[in-house]
Every structure is written in structure tokens, then in C-alpha cells.
Amino acid sequence: MAIRGVLRIGEVALRVLDMAAARRHYADYIGLIEVPVADTAQVYFKAWDEHDHHSLVLREAASPGLDYFAFKVFDDATLNQLTQRVEEAGLTVEHLPAGTYPHSGRRVQFELPGGHLMQLYAEKERTGNTLPTRNPGVLPDEGVVRGMRVSRLDHVLLAGPRLAESTQFFTEVLDFDLGEELIDNDSGMQLATFLCCSNKPHDIAFVLRNEPGGFHHVSFHLDSVADVYHAGDIMGKHNISVEVGPTRHGITRGATIYFYDPSGNRNEVFSGGYIHYPDLLPLTWDTTQLGHAAFAIDNQPRPSFFNVVT
């Protein structure tokens, strides 16, 4: 089926400890474009190849982590249908009128079983990717693509309890497919799930953790594996805190580097992976292959994958 329900992750709102350091990290190093918004303490960014007004929102606070994340849906009618289904699933839905968030249409907000605030919206001001829509060409002006050259948000990974319920909510209420899962080999219990609403190998993922509301990472898309190494060169040059990589995930087959912003929020640059279709069977990895599932080149699991969240 053509993509007509939930389209993609369109907004991630993070808290940071120090905005000056965060600006340097997300704008100068990662290469996001800061977009001005009047009368707000938040700072807004977009990646160059995103067409909507902004996709990353930062707020200075006493502790880092995730405020909320938002998926864009196809249109207003879709938003109505999905809102009804979320309410029927028993979640409390908060209706946020147009203008509650800058340059944005109305949104609905609800809390997932794992303690994360999620929003759905159909409209955000389209500002384009600097190329025209008629005879767009292929190359933006010098300086538009910069830093790590990330082109767009790719996915988020969230940590929390009640993983099976969050996963079921996405598959049954929001029509995502379960792309892959990591299960405990002894008990069969799901430890991590990877969910698709598009042709990507994942659009959102969850990892099991006792404390609710944990933020594991936000991932930015790169066009090529060579760009992953270029991003790594920028991390080395500017002493960015790197957790692991460049390597390849077994799950999703994407090339990756995990790194941290100056407040300890994990970021990822991600490229490749296979094309997902809704008729594919879910892929299951178990803990006998934990290292290969996580990092498929050295096959070494990192305890920090489960322990380090904001």
C-alpha cells in the first residue's frame, strides 16, 4: 500500500543543559539549519532536505532528555481517524489547537505505555529544501549542505517499561509493521522492537528498561556510508563523545555511529539498511546473537546500549 497513514517522524523535542554548546553541536557540527521563531525560549532546527519548517526543537533545562516526539500523518482526515483509534485504545488524548506549536497545525498528544509523550499532526508550514519544485536541480547552494551533511531525521529509539504494549499500540492502532525484534533467548521476552510505517527498516524503535520515559537516541540520515566516515571525521576533529562506530547494525543493516551531544543525549548518523515492505515477515534476533544483532562487524554488545539513556 502506498504510504497514506502515518508518514514519518517529523519532530523531536529535546532538553539540553547548555544551549550554546548544543547550538555548536547540532548546527555547526551536525549541520542542521537553525530556523528563527519569534517569542520563544526554544531553539528550532531543520535538516537541509526536509521540506517542513523544523524538525528538532531544543530547550535549556536542568536535566537532558526527551520532552516529546511527533509523527506527521498524511492529512487532516487521517489525523481524525487515528485520533479516534487512539482514544478507542484507551489512551487519554489531549487536543492542541493550531498555533500551540509555532508554524504548526493542530496536534493531538498522548502518553505511550513506556512513559513517552507522542504527538500526531498533519500540517506544518512548508518552507522547502531551498531547491524549487519546478526544475529543482540536484545541488543546493554552497553552505546549505554542511557539517555532517545529515539530510533528515530518520528515527528515534526510546527506552522504557511495557515494551510489548508500546509495540502493540504501534502495530494495531497506528498501522506500523514490526520489522525486527530482539528477544531474550530463555524467556522469549521482547527486549527491543523496530517498527516501520514506511519503506525504511525502522521509523521508531523501543528498548526495554525499568525506568519510564527514557531517551535512547535520535538518528539523522546520511546519503552514503562514505558520509558516515566523514561524520566520524568531524566527531574526531571536534572531540565529540563517541560511543561506538563506524560500524553496521545487524538489526536494520544500517551503517552507524552512535555519539552524544554535549548534554549526554545520544545521537546517531545512519545510512543504508534494506527496503521494508509491509508483506515482509518480521525478523527475530535472540540474545545468543546479541553482539551481532547490535554491531555486526565486531559482534561485541555494548552494555552502554542498555545502560546509557537520558
Partner: protein
Amino acid sequence: MRFEVLMADTAERFLCEPHQSVLDSMERLNRQDIPVGCRGGGCGVCKVQITHGEYLRRRMSRAHISAADEVAGIGLACCVIPLTNLTLSVVVGPNVPPPQLGAREHS
């Protein structure tokens, strides 16, 4: 000036580079006295109790270090910059499970 860190529990000692955090200096020496996470004061994995010495603190997540913790000498090693020799020990708090490969759902 370089200052020495004494790990109270193991009696291990290492030297800190000027203006570097305790965690940065430890990593530079390829040591593993203190668990390493984000290195940015966000995850709480590197929590330590400092019992002797003076130090500067970079901003640390309030989710892991309360104002009372700060007064009590509890800090995040990635945000602690020695001004004298320090004595400290690793704190494994309720939010910081010891390294483990899998997590278990609690009921």
C-alpha cells in the same frame, strides 16, 4: 598542574590532566576505574562520591544529581574537574544499574 585521583575502594591512583574531567583523564590512560557513559553529565553512569579534595563542576543533570547530592560531594566524574588531589568512590545508584547485557521487565 596535575592532580592525583585516589579510588577509595581499590586504592588505585591515576593522574588528571589540567582542566580535564576525572573521567576524561581516566579514559586517556585507558583505565576503567569508573563506568563511562555519555561523558556529558546526562546519563548518571559515572556517578562518584568525592570524600577529599576540591574541584570544579560542569553542569550535571538534576535527574541524577540533586542539590543535596552536590553539597554531599556526589557528582558525575565526567563533570568533575580537580583543583586538588581527590579521593572518590564509584556510586551505583538506583537509576544506574550495573552493566548488564539484557534488561528484565519488572512486574
